[in-house]
């Protein structure tokens, strides 16, 4: 017992320190790697085909498209998974919670490309929404599950106290349960976002644009430089989004808990 008590605080402090180092190092690393690759790609002798892709305008457009897909996916995920998760923790919805979790599980277990293509075949849509909707379905699960678990792990005594002093059911959810579940929800969002950024590279299959297009072009036309630039930008973007998620967890979490 005493061992645990003695070592626990130092381990915790160590983990916190590692977190802080990562918070600083991650964006720096991204900056250095992406900067180096871009400098190399723009400075080298590009042939005509390569030059069509490796130029500031195209790279910016593709990155923007990629971000747009990610943003739309995030909006859908937050808009659907958080309220749905909160609803499924209500007493009356408990019997159906496993059904929704099951569906979300299937969404994530199926290959992302499969979901994307099936959705395309089913609807015949192309472009941003044809990409964003199936990707959102694919990355829904972490937020949904974490919202449910986060709310369920709020101390029942606090919910009892909140009800007991006269909070309406809505107040109990919005003022007590949600704020206390927020760290879990944010952690889920971070996972979802990283999944979404990664999966958005597949959007070009349905004409959704994004950095996947560069990878595809580089591969099909046998131009490794284009492929590398597309891939490195996608990785860099994922790391930046992950970093933003970590930052949000630090800044948006409820006060008084840490």
């Amino acid at each position: 017992m005493s061992d645990v008590e003695l070592t626990a605080p130092t381990e915790e402090a160590g983990a916190k320190k590692a977190d802080r180092v990562r918070l600083l190092a991650q964006p720096l690393a991204v900056l250095v790697i992406v900067g180096a690759v871009l400098t190399w790609a723009l400075a080298r002798e590009n042939d005509e085909i390569e030059a069509q892709s490796i130029q500031a305008g195209v790279l910016l457009t593709k990155t923007w498209e990629h971000l747009l897909i990610t943003a739309v996916v995030t909006a859908i995920v937050v808009g659907v998974a958080v309220p749905l998760g909160a609803m499924l923790t209500r007493r009356w919805a408990r019997p159906v919670a496993p059904v929704f979790l099951g569906i979300a599980n299937i969404g994530q277990a199926a290959p992302a490309l499969g979901v994307l293509v099936l959705f395309f075949l089913w609807t015949g849509w192309e472009g941003l929404w044809a990409a964003a909707l199936p990707i959102a379905f694919y990355s829904l699960l972490p937020v949904l599950r974490n919202t449910i678990v986060g709310i369920q792990s709020v101390d029942p005594a606090l919910v009892d106290a909140a009800r007991g002093i006269g909070m309406s059911p809505r107040s109990v959810l919005l003022r007590v349960e949600m704020p206390l579940a927020l760290p879990m929800v944010l952690a889920g969002m971070r996972t979802s976002l990283v999944l979404a950024v990664g999966t958005a590279t597949l959007a070009f299959f349905v004409n959704g644009g994004g950095l996947g297009e560069l990878v595809d072009t580089g591969y099909k036309l046998n131009r490794p430089a284009v492929l590398v630039v597309g891939a490195v930008l996608a990785v860099g973007l994922a790391l930046v989004v992950d970093w933003l998620g970590a930052l949000a967890e630090q800044l948006l979490g409820p006060k008084g808990l840490g």
Partner: protein, 433 residues
């Protein structure tokens, strides 16, 4: 928020000392689906306005369920509950709860709210303006003994268990509700802090006069806090509902007796004060100016072997034996000094301690420390015997019924006669000399 617009609670009683209202339970039953036995079976009791009633019983007896039905955190299956004459089951449950203070074990403070925000929740729900809420928060922190400047903006994590509990009580009192429900509020703090919190609750209650329903499994806590105690058995059936004195003196049945446990008489002594019993004024007193021979004459006439020397303000100083007087020229320096004394404010338990230490009897002093009489072991045992007799005579018809607890604990000792004999009291230092 949709929860605004509720007018502030106004106590219905006109009595300044009592701001609580009466709570009545009539045939209240809770049956959970799928279980054959009801969790709470047909409970009928009246909780008088302004009294602190303790529901006590073994774990799982349904005492908490009974309490939670009063603010409808649990809906009764059948029966009727009125609070201040209003049918609680007719009201909107959320609004009902805002008029009932609620404090639970480990305080149940919201960890992401500061102390001030925690206390401000109910006034906020009732739609008070900011200024009024801020003033009320300061007032309440003051009331429960927390420094406003120091603790206002702290989070619960930064407080000790006892401090958290104080905030919990302040939060329960925030909107000045006439009724307070407390579910083992001091169950999770250390014994010393618990004692302090209990004392403070009694002090607060003396000022506020709320109707308090207090749930605990600790019978000593019940005896200390309760104006009345309801001892509950299986399915919350009332085994005995009476004053602590009556339950200690005459447990209604074996179950209650078992729950009261050993040391009922000692517990009873904590409830009585020396001023409540008749202590005889039997010591022969003398001041230091009197001559030894004069005193010896007086003692011979009274048949006393000991005299109590007092100073000019009649504060007890020394015991003098008749033998010391023959050789003494002055009363100034003879005799042995008086040890433990008890004041009229002391509990009989303290008095017993002094009696044992002093060897049979102890000096009783008044509010200014002056000699007022003597108390001995027979007085104490006599009081207990008389109490037992009275409560046996009264029978056990108090169980399950409201009775008339108005007299309370102070009255219980009234009219108890002196038990120590005159002859014994005339020899006060005998055991020690």
């Amino acid at each position: 928020m949709a929860d605004k617009g509720e007018p502030a609670v106004t106590p219905e009683s006109t009595d300044a000392a009592v701001s609580g209202v009466e709570i009545q339970l009539e045939g209240v039953t809770k049956r959970y689906p799928g279980s054959a036995e009801p969790a709470v079976n047909d409970v009928t009791m009246t909780i008088p306005a302004g009294q602190l009633v303790v529901l006590v019983g073994p774990s799982g007896c349904g005492k908490t369920t009974t309490m939670r039905m009063i603010n409808r955190l649990i809906e009764p299956t059948s029966g009727r509950i009125t609070i201040g004459g209003e049918d609680a089951l007719e009201l909107d449950d959320v609004r009902l709860r805002r008029k009932i203070g609620y404090a639970i074990q480990q305080a149940g403070l919201f960890p992401h709210f500061t102390v001030a925000q925690n206390i401000a929740v109910v006034p906020g729900l009732l739609g008070w303006n900011k200024k009024r809420i801020a003033e009320r928060v300061d007032e309440l922190m003051d009331l429960v003994g927390l420094d406003v400047a120091q603790f206002r903006d702290r989070y619960p994590r930064q407080l000790s268990g006892g401090q958290q509990q104080r905030v919990g009580v302040a939060r329960a009192l925030a909107a000045d509700p006439p009724v307070l429900l407390m579910d083992e509020p001091f169950g999770a703090v250390d014994p010393i802090t618990r004692g302090n919190l209990q004392d403070e609750l009694l002090r607060l209650q003396a000022d506020l006069g709320k109707t308090i329903v207090f749930v605990t499994h600790d019978f000593d806590e019940a005896v200390k806090l309760g104006d009345r105690i309801a001892v509950l058995g299986e399915a919350s059936t009332i085994q005995q509902y009476d004053t602590p004195e009556a339950i200690l003196a005459n447990p209604a049945n074996d179950m209650v007796a078992g729950f009261v446990g050993a040391g009922a008489s000692l517990k009873q002594l904590t409830l009585l004060r020396v001023r409540d019993v008749d202590y005889p004024d039997l010591a022969l007193t003398a001041d230091a100016g009197e001559s030894p021979s004069e005193l010896r004459t007086r003692m011979a006439r009274a048949g006393a072997t000991y005299a109590l020397l007092v100073d000019r303000r009649r504060r007890p100083q020394r015991w003098v034996h008749v033998r010391n007087l023959s050789s003494a020229t002055s009363l100034a320096n003879i005799g042995r000094s008086v040890g433990d004394t008890v004041s009229t404010q002391s509990t009989l338990q303290d008095a017993l301690e002094a009696i044992l230490a002093e060897g049979g009897r102890a000096v009783v002093t008044g509010t200014r420390g002056e000699y007022v009489g003597m108390i001995d072991i027979e007085t104490v045992t006599g009081v207990l015997a008389q109490l037992r007799e009275e409560h046996e005579a009264a029978g056990t018809d108090g169980a399950g019924d409201t009775g008339d607890g108005a007299g309370g604990r102070a009255a219980a000792g009234d009219g108890v006669g002196p038990a120590g004999g005159a002859g014994a009291a005339a020899d006060p230092g005998a055991g020690a000399s």
